[in-house]
């Protein structure tokens, strides 16, 4: 049995930042990563746009990962690669399997979950029609293209306007493929506005909002698909069905936090984020188990992932040393257009807490109001809020006067 103050599960941007903060907080720290290297999803995101907030410079995914990797290497942090965490025991013992070390058992003073998320697949969205070859999740296509140098098709249709799909529309176009169409079920994009501009508009790729696939045809390989507009009930209007030929279909229809390790452990989960419910230290309802990054809630900006992971890592170090005091908590609820707010619980005390939130539709010129008991903690005007973009507001903990409600006001 190995013993550590902090064991971090997952070595993506979240895991690396958490480990750095834990180590800087004086904790003996281990990272378990199932891949052959650190960096997580960033290794395959070769486009620009990372690090503007955190490093104040624009870089690509692999470069952003490399900065953190070097910080990890500088420190006395144990890293086990190709080590897949399999289970977390009640006494915070993590069991992992690795070709190099065999079955590993590590007893942890505190655990940080940083396993990231996976993409929704054709099964998860009940795609109608045959199941030919040529259907990929956008992230899978990204990995094949950017790590293995293999282009998945020449004539491409993309379902869903998530950021990964938009980025891949541009990527495949510059590599010589023709991206014929992007279909989005909702009347708005679930991706960032800048990605609509620089990935679709720049290349004249059409996007049809309020449209979906009605049938996929072809066997053994995809030959095309039928699509149609949807009504207000989001059901396709079959009379207006149209056909488009293609040899690849990419799905960019959402991400799901990869929480298999704690599902069924009795930890409180948020039905909206599909991640754990946490306090401002990112501690779950399991004592000493913290969560950060995409396994906690899906982020659109890695900069926010790093920030969140630093909070979780340093709190984990303090927990392991017995210095993290949990006091009386208030609950944070979301309503009136706010889909969720995180953290879901806040300990009463001193100092600022940043609340992250997402809205359920596109809103223009609205106020985001944060109330606690009889007090208003924040009341801020936003020119525009969209579901694809996570927002944040700061509140003072000393102002807390009871349970907190985060809502929109016209």
């Amino acid at each position: 049995m190995r013993e550590y103050d902090v064991v971090v599960i997952g070595g993506g941007p979240a895991g690396m930042a958490a480990a750095i903060a834990a180590c800087d907080g004086g904790a003996k720290t281990l990272i378990l990563e199932r891949d052959v290297r650190l960096g997580g999803i960033l290794n395959q995101c070769i486009h620009q746009g990372f690090g503007l907030h955190y490093f104040k410079e624009e870089m690509t995914g692999p470069e952003y990962a490399d900065r953190f990797r070097k910080e990890v290497e500088k420190r006395d942090i144990d890293v086990m690669l190709e080590a897949m965490a399999l289970a977390i025991g009640e006494d915070r013992t993590v069991t992992a399997l690795s070709p190099e070390y065999g079955l590993v058992k590590a007893k942890a003073g505190a655990i940080v979950l940083a396993m990231g998320c996976r993409e929704r697949t054709a099964g998860a969205i009940a795609l109608p029609g045959t199941r030919p070859a040529g259907i990929y999740t956008a992230g899978m296509a990204q990995k094949l293209c950017n790590i293995d140098g293999y282009l998945v098709g020449k004539e491409v249709v993309i379902l869903g306007s998530g950021d990964i799909g938009l980025i891949m529309a541009r990527r495949m176009t510059t590599e010589g493929a023709k991206v014929k169409l992007v279909l989005e079920l909702m009347p708005y994009s679930s991706g960032l506005k800048r990605n609509i501009v620089q990935c679709l508009d720049d290349y004249g790729i059409p996007i049809k909002y309020s449209h979906t696939i009605t049938r996929v045809v072809g066997s053994p390989r995809i030959e095309g698909l039928y699509y149609a507009p949807v009504g207000t009930d989001r059901k396709p209007i079959l009379d207006n069905e149209q056909f488009v030929s293609c040899d690849a279909l990419l799905l960019s229809v959402g991400l799901i936090p990869e929480n298999d390790l704690i599902n069924g452990s009795g930890v409180e989960m948020s039905p909206v984020t599909n991640g754990a419910a946490v306090d401002e230290n990112r501690m779950t309802t399991l004592d000493g188990v913290f969560s950060c990054g995409n396994v906690l809630h899906v982020h659109d900006l890695v900069d926010n992932v790093s920030q969140e992971a630093l909070i979780a890592g340093s709190a984990a170090a303090r927990y392991a040393k017995g210095e993290l005091k949990s006091g009386e908590c208030v609950n944070v609820a979301a309503k009136d257009g706010v889909r969720y707010a995180l953290p879901q619980r806040i300990n009463r005390g001193e100092g600022k807490v940043r609340l992250f939130f997402r809205v359920d539709n596109v809103y223009k010129g609205v106020r985001l109001v944060v109330e606690s008991g009889s007090k208003t903690l924040s009341n801020r005007k936003f020119q525009m809020l969209a579901p694809g973009e996570m927002g944040s507001v700061d509140i003072e903990r000393s102002d807390i006067d009871g349970d907190i409600v985060v809502r929109l006001e016209k």
Binding site: V36, R37, L38, G39, N43, I46, H47, Q48, G49, L52, H53, E58, M59, T60, G61, P62, E63, A65, D66, R69, L81, C145, N146, I147, D148, G149, T174, E175, L192, K193, R194, I196, V197, Q198, D202, D300, L301, E389
Partner: protein
């Protein structure tokens, strides 16, 4: 001209007008947006990110060290597609490229073994 600033995820809606000799940008939240709006109006530029072949197989990722004129993006991608670099390439390595009046450095951003 109306567009959206792509310099950061805020995605501010920009309005760009020519008033006399001066190009005026409004709707931006910061200076980067003003510079972007002016460039979009006069001569749009983009940073290119793509892959470069490694000797003996495999690919590394790379970018131009500065944005290039938007209409030259496909030239630059095609040119990089003809190059092959050594397997010992590291993040930050540079190659100079000159193609038809365009001078730019290509910077390696990731390799199959970075972080191994």
């Amino acid at each position: 001209m109306n567009t959206i600033c792509i310099m950061c995820p805020m995605g501010c809606g920009l309005k760009i007008e020519k008033v006399g000799e001066e190009i005026r940008v409004s709707g931006n939240t910061c200076k980067r947006g003003e510079a972007y709006g002016k460039a979009e109006f006069t001569h749009p530029v983009r940073t290119v990110t793509t892959l470069i072949k490694l000797e003996g197989g495999g690919v590394a990722s790379c970018k131009t060290d500065a944005p290039v004129p938007k209409e030259r993006v496909s030239d630059v991608v095609a040119y990089i597609g003809t190059l092959t670099i050594g397997r010992d390439a590291k993040i930050g390595d540079r190659l100079h490229a000159s193609l038809d009046g365009l001078e730019t450095d290509i910077v390696i951003t990731g390799t199959p073994t970075s972080g191994c």
